[in-house]
């Protein structure tokens, strides 16, 4: 066993400083024979929970600590006991949140339970005066060591040796330098020397380090002494619940019971015995597990918004349903409460609630107002250098121009093999970027995760203040959960806002008020037909090409007798869960079986478990059930396996579970090939997957969206585009609106609003579509219009608003004044606008001069030039809206294919098995990998008759992938394939429209 412990170690959780991951540090420390290892990331415990887990897995005793740095003072703080941990959290929180933070006085006030190592002589002097206990002088090889050593000898404070580790080995120093250059927005040649650590600050083995301290051997031995004094039995098993209005546990249970029964009456009228039994069962578990406060807290939050969608496993709870937290009846849809909460479950399940995206901030404000920033905090996101970001940032350090970075980034995203074709310095950039991937860059606020504790959050975890002013804890959701903090996810959902806005527009235009809470669109035949056809662009969660294609395949080819019995909602729940990256190969099986194909269950032991989903594992709980049924796992172990599948850092655990699964199933007499087949299906849940309650909740929102699309298309599409963030671009939504029969109206200064508006069968563009137009300016002229009526002329507009000329120019070019300009053309309006401003810019000073014409000059007569040509107007539309409005962009290139024999999208079905040539505008592209790891792509394109799907298999993708663009038409040649009644084109040749397309078509 080594006689030395590294007590000053930065991992890659030291943002943009540390290079080495925890796993590598622990492994090397262990290999060096170290009994323990301290993690002292800069000003934080960002990786503390993960560290304890990794260190324990490697047989090391984990010492938690941090390097506290503030202005010119610094110290290593190591946790000696649990009170010290709380103090460390408080100190780090103060460091980040308190503008008046003073390192010396703060450490002095909170040093109980902490061991302090420092070479900051002024600070050490003051701390020694307070107490010399647990105070050490830090000696690190380097020019300043002799000073620290002299101070130690002079004051009799014990010295301790550290190497301020920032990386595993000296060869990683350039990575550290690159990180620093990225962090400081500079280049390697301009990186200040004092912004980096020294090249020798690596995880040195004992013998190398001893050579540095021949004159102070006790500095080495003191590390062991300190390590032994530190607390290392970390478990974080205790769950920390919020407290609802300071109620006692018994009162909280009583209140929850009362609210649940009141809710049951609202939901069911007179509750049946089944409902009552279920409520009682759930309340018992909730009481025993101490969840009553949590439910009451969530209930109070949900009541702040009229439209929510409780999702996740909480949707399996009838208590949630009765409280209005979720909206899917768990009894009607056969949802199991145990997926959410069961007596054997140790980890705290959280409740996820979706709010309309633009209401979420108010809800979060409410929580902070109710609990205060001492009790509540946002969960963090650990923003790491993702592959593309790493390439971009390293490229910046190398000074590559932004356009070139974009180009290379896109090229590599589409064709990883293109790396070999890149010239210097790109290979060096990519190589370094790959080494830096995954390094913590900074914290950001998780989109909606919150923690609420009964007392002071800073006892449990260090807190920082996010840019938008909210307190944010230093852990991301996984570490938060593992530390026992119960999380509430308050998430933003655009589709809830779409539904809200569409319902409001419908009420305004038709007087038809639809009550969101009691509205049940599931029996509506028009909605069901729409879903069965896959006409679901704009509908929540089921608008992607893959889902629409699956819906089409599922329902188009389904025999009539099965179709008559099939429940559209139930199938929609399955489809919502089945569309996930790793489950592609099971989709075809599922469709065939749904169409009536007989099948053999995976094994008789799991026949009943998977009967509902035709023998395919669809939901997360299927993993648990299959593990229990086939391998005899306990409910808890099965649930853990389910959890491990969704975590990135649990590879080792997954291997353990795999071994257990195989061993136990073999013992139960299951054949090896069956176990392998089942395990393969289980592995399709790696990454993300859903439980049935979650899918049911989502399917309900999907149904509501589909209902609106079926019955109020204009209001619905207007709300979809206005809320933005859908799967498709605005251009694609407008094309879809045209196919739905809607008329698109251009912008008009007297009728348009900021957002899109849909009435009857017309869809009016909103000013939001106009690039560069400021919201404040639009609000100004809309308010003026509302107060004093419509604008009578362009001059009237100028007089009433005194507007910014650059902004007015955009309105003119977009044709907003066409209806009130009379005979004055758009360039004529611009003449009149520019006549009011001198040429040299549009500054506000000049703007103020515009109404002071000279006393002695007469204004010249301004010409009324000819209007812009149609081509120029289309060009303006492309510049201002991002797409042409008065025609389909394909028509602009029509001359290129005038003589070609093209097949249109609506004719594809009649060419099955034939080679055809098609023209199309790329709407979406989904890159994918084959099981052999080769790149391919699925595309959705559009021509003037409709949308169609195309597939580029690897060989074709490798050749033509770089040509894919959304800015010009694509000419495709390929074979039409039919599957389950839907047709797609398998592309064999592709080119951007331009030179050579004729040769392709005649080939």
């Amino acid at each position: 066993m080594s006689e030395f412990v590294h007590l000053h170690v930065h991992s890659d959780y030291s943002p943009m400083q540390g290079v080495s991951p925890l796993e590598a540090l622990c492994q090397t420390a262990r290999a060096q024979g170290s009994p323990a290892l301290a993690l002292t990331d800069t000003n934080g415990l960002y990786g503390a929970i993960r560290f304890t887990e990794v260190a324990q897995a490697h047989g090391l005793r984990p010492i938690l600590g941090a390097e506290l740095i503030h202005k010119q003072h610094r110290a290593i703080l190591l946790v000696k006991d649990l009170y010290g941990y709380e103090n460390l959290c408080r100190l780090l929180s103060q460091r980040h949140c308190d503008a008046e933070f003073d390192c010396i006085t703060a450490v002095q006030a909170h040093r109980h339970g902490l061991i302090i190592l420092s070479d900051d002589i002024p600070a050490l002097r003051i701390w020694k005066r307070h107490s010399p206990a647990d105070l050490y002088v830090e000696l690190t090889p380097g020019t300043l060591m002799h000073q620290a050593l002299a101070f130690s000898r002079h004051t009799n404070l014990p010295p301790v040796a550290t190497n301020r580790v920032h990386f595993l080995s000296p060869k990683e120093f350039p990575l550290h330098q690159t990180l620093r250059a990225i962090a400081l927005n500079t280049t390697l040649s301009q990186l200040p020397h004092d912004s980096c650590c020294a090249p020798h600050h690596w995880l040195m083995p004992l013998d190398s380090l001893q050579a540095q301290f021949p004159h102070v051997p006790h500095a080495i031995s003191n590390t062991l002494k300190i390590a032994q004094a530190c607390y290392t039995d970390w478990s974080f098993r205790e769950t920390i619940f919020p407290n609802f209005r300071q109620l006692s546990d018994a009162h909280a249970v009583t209140q929850l019971q009362e609210k649940t029964y009141a809710g049951a009456e609202w939901r069911y009228g007179i509750p049946s015995s089944a409902v009552i039994d279920r409520i009682e069962h759930e309340l018992t578990v909730i009481r025993d597990k101490g969840y009553a406060h949590y439910f009451l807290v969530v209930d109070e939050i949900v009541r702040q918004a009229p439209r929510t969608c409780g999702r996740g496993s909480a949707a399996a709870s009838i208590v949630s349903y009765c409280l209005g937290i979720t909206h899917v009846d768990p009894i009607r849809h056969n949802l199991f409460f145990e997926r959410f909460l069961n007596p054997g479950r140790h980890d705290p399940p959280d409740i996820d609630i979706d709010f309309p995206w633009d209401e979420r901030d108010h809800i979060i404000d409410f929580v902070f107002a109710r609990y205060g920033s001492r009790q509540a905090g946002m969960v963090a996101n650990h923003n790491t250098l993702a592959p593309r970001a790493a390439i971009r940032e390293v490229a910046k350090v190398y000074g590559m121009p932004p356009a070139e970075m974009r180009q290379v980034s896109q090229l590599l995203a589409r064709q990883p093999s293109a790396l070999a074709t890149l010239r210097e310095p790109w290979p060096a950039i990519i190589s370094r970027a790959r080494q830096l991937q995954g390094r913590l860059r900074h914290l950001s606020v998780h989109c909606g995760g919150m923690v609420i504790v009964p007392d002071d959050l800073r006892r449990y975890v260090p807190v920082e203040v996010a840019t938008k002013g909210v307190p944010v804890i230093q852990w991301e959701k996984d570490q938060t959960e593992e530390a026992g903090l119960v999380k509430i996810d308050l998430l933003g959902n655009r589709s809830l806002a779409v539904i809200r806005d569409a319902l409001a527009a419908i009420a305004e235009h038709t007087g038809n008020h639809i009550d969101y809470a009691t509205w049940d669109p599931m029996p509506d035949p028009a909605t069901q037909i729409l879903i069965q056809r896959g006409d679901t662009i704009g509908c929540f969660y089921i608008e992607s090409p893959a889902t629409r294609l699956l819906l089409k395949k599922l329902w188009t080819g389904m025999p009539a007798y099965r179709r008559a019995q099939a429940d559209v909602f139930e199938y929609l729940v399955i489809v919502s869960s089945l569309i996930r990256p790793a489950a592609n190969r099971f989709v075809q099986q599922f469709v065939r079986r749904a169409h009536g194909q007989s099948y053999h269950p995976l094994h008789p032991l799991v026949e009943n478990v998977l009967a509902e989903t035709h023998g395919i594992m669809v939901y997360q709980e299927d993993v648990t059930k299959v593990a229990m049924g086939l391998a005899g796992f306990s409910a808890e172990a099965g649930d853990q396996l389910r959890k491990v599948l969704s975590k990135k850092h649990k590879h080792r655990q997954l291997q353990d579970y795999r071994q257990q699964f195989f061993d136990r199933a073999l013992v139960r007499g299951v054949e090896l090939h069956t176990i392998q087949a089942v395990w393969e299906m289980i592995m399709s849940f790696v990454g993300y997957s859903f439980c049935k309650p979650h899918s049911a909740s989502y399917a309900q929102v999907s149904f509501k969206s589909a209902y609106l699309r079926a019955h109020y298309p204009a209001e619905f599409m207007a709300a979809v585009i206005s809320n933005q963030g859908g799967f498709y671009s605005t251009f694609a939504y407008l094309s879809e609106a045209r196919r739905m029969g809607l008329t698109i109206l251009p912008l008009d200064i007297n009728t348009s609003e900021w957002a899109y508006r849909g009435i009857g069968m017309t869809l009016c563009l909103g000013f939001m579509q106009l690039k560069g137009l400021e919201r404040a300016f639009v609000t100004q002229f809309l308010e003026e219009r509302q107060r004093h009526g419509a604008y009578r002329s362009f001059h009237d507009f100028l007089t009433r608003l005194n507007p910014e000329p650059a902004q007015t120019r955009l309105l003119i070019l977009a044709g907003c004044f066409d209806t009130i300009a009379g005979e004055v053309t758009r360039p004529g309006l611009l003449w009149r606008l520019y006549a009011m401003y001198p040429f040299s810019g549009f500054s506000s000073q000049q703007a103020s001069l515009r109404h002071t014409p000279s006393l002695f000059t007469t204004a010249p007569t301004l010409p009324i030039p000819n209007d812009y040509t149609r081509e120029r107007k289309i060009q303006h539309e492309i510049q201002l809206f991002g797409f042409p409005l008065q025609c389909h962009p394909l028509t602009l290139y029509a001359q290129h294919w005038a003589d070609l024999n093209l097949t249109q999208a609506i004719e594809m079905a009649s060419h099955v098995g034939k080679q055809i040539t098609m023209i199309g505008w790329l709407i979406t592209e989904k890159p994918a990998l084959t099981k052999h790891g080769k790149s391919m792509a699925f595309m959705t394109l559009e021509d003037s008759t409709g949308l169609y799907d195309a597939t580029l298999f690897p060989s074709v993708f490798q050749q033509y992938g770089p040509l894919l663009t959304t800015e010009r038409p694509l000419l495709l040649q390929g074979k039409v394939e039919e599957e389950f009644g839907t047709v797609t084109i398998t592309v064999t040749q592709l080119q951007i429209v331009g030179q050579g397309d004729r040769q392709l078509a005649t080939a």
């Binding site: 927005n185 500079t186 280049t187 390697l188 040649s189 301009q190 910046k396 350090v397 190398y398 000074g399 590559m400 121009p401 932004p402 356009a403 070139e404 010239r423 210097e424 310095p425 120019r809 070019l813 053309t825 360039p827 611009l830 003449w831 520019y834 006549a835 001198p838 040429f839 040299s840 204004a859 010249p860 007569t861 301004l862 010409p863 030039p865 000819n866 209007d867 812009y868």
Partner: protein, 401 residues
């Protein structure tokens, strides 16, 4: 008397020289660029390369992708300079005043030479013929009553053509040309004005000429009158002889482009060496320094500063140049070239000696760096600028770290 201005030049001079030296290149797509690095920038292209989509400013790897048969020839500044100077013996005998605006391109003011040499058109044709016969270089020439018309005329031609725009027909000649072809609208301010003219639906120079000067001034400010005159073919700018040149410009091209601070400062130092050498040679002091940075993505940043003490010594000018460089270099993007320009001069204020000193260029009372610079000037004059350099200037040619 009517002015007779000729805009005479060898289009794509570097390419033409390469094709002259190697006749096999004559019908092939050729581009001038360094071939040793894929990031080198294309300087000049032959018409065949242009047809294939290769344009100056493109990187060589992109250019090769567009035109796989592209032949790269390395830039040869001394050959270009030599050819430029070889044109002088043809020009100086016929042009009382001439101005070179870039290598191989001249404005010639032939006003009043008709009785001596014959009609301007004939003189220019003779010039083209002589240059072609003696140097093997094909030229173009535009003739007009001012620099604008002559330039516009020459820009429409391919060698060996000549275009004579007779007095009085300037407006008709310019009318169908796009307004964007006016040379005065090519700078940063001109681009903004072009946008405004496009907004006003003034597409051609003829469209502009139909608008009253008052209306143009109303919407284009001080540019209005200028545009009005240009649209009518009016341009009063004189042809400026080299000795009356109002500025000194030097540029440094980084091949490949770089972000290495030492190299960049080295390039800056090289520029100062050349600039100060010229200043001392011309007995001028620099008052105002202007630095232009061309980033690899073609973005140009220009900053200038007035020197606290006018000088022509590198050692005195370097701190100001460094400050200028810091003001310009604000992006983390590689630099392609540095251009330094001085456009405000004065003579040195020193008292001239009544009797010439034995070695007046190296007074012993000067500071050592000044004496050293003077010594280096002697070497530079005799053996060229590269014979001896400051250490920091040598860094410019180093390989990136």
């Amino acid at each position: 008397m009517e002015r007779q201005i000729v805009c005479f030049g060898i289009p794509r001079l570097a390419v033409a020289l390469a094709q002259l030296d190697d006749p096999t290149l004559r019908t092939r797509p050729v581009a001038v660029a360094f071939a040793h690095t894929s990031r080198a920038m294309i300087h000049e292209v032959s018409p065949e390369a242009e047809d294939a989509g290769v344009v100056p400013g493109l990187q060589t790897n992109q250019a090769r992708r567009r035109c796989p048969t592209l032949q790269l020839v390395p830039p040869n500044p001394s050959r270009v300079s030599q050819a430029h100077h070889a044109l002088m013996p043809f020009i100086t005998p016929i042009a009382p005043i001439w101005e070179s605006y870039r290598p191989g391109h001249f404005y010639l003011d032939l006003t009043g030479t008709t009785r001596l040499f014959g009609a301007t058109c004939d003189t220019t044709m003779r010039l083209e013929r002589d240059v072609s016969a003696r140097l093997g270089l094909q030229a173009v020439a535009g003739i007009g009553t001012n620099k604008l018309v002559a330039h516009m005329a020459s820009s429409l031609l391919t060698p060996p053509q000549l275009c004579d725009v007779r007095a009085g027909s300037e407006q008709d000649f310019l009318s169908p040309l796009p307004v964007s072809t006016l040379p005065g609208l090519r700078g940063p301010g001109g681009i903004t004005l072009q946008t405004r003219l496009a907004d006003l639906n003034l597409q051609t120079i003829g469209d502009v000429s139909e608008i009253s000067v008052e209306a143009l001034e109303t919407v284009c400010g001080r540019w209005g009158r200028q545009l009005y005159q240009w649209a009518r073919g009016i341009d009063c700018l004189p042809v400026i002889a080299p000795e009356a040149s109002l500025s000194l410009t030097h540029s440094y091209l980084f091949e490949p482009d770089t972000i290495d601070h030492d190299r960049l400062i080295g390039g800056l130092s090289c520029l100062l060496d050349s600039l100060c050498h010229d200043l001392r040679r011309q007995h001028r002091l620099c008052h105002r320094l202007e630095l232009t940075l061309l980033y690899s993505d073609q973005l140009t940043i220009q900053r200038s500063s007035v020197l606290y003490t006018p000088t022509h010594w590198e050692v005195d000018m370097f701190p100001s140049a460094q400050t200028l460089f810091r003001r310009c270099f604000q992006r983390r993007v590689r630099i392609r070239s540095l251009i330094i320009r001085s456009n405000s001069f004065s003579p040195p204020p020193e008292q001239l000696s009544l009797f010439p000193a034995h070695n007046s260029d190296e007074p012993q009372d000067q500071p050592r760096p000044h004496r050293l610079a003077l010594a280096m000037d002697h070497l530079h004059t005799r053996f060229g600028m590269k014979i001896i350099q400051w250490g920091r200037s040598r860094m410019a040619a180093h390989i990136d770290k």
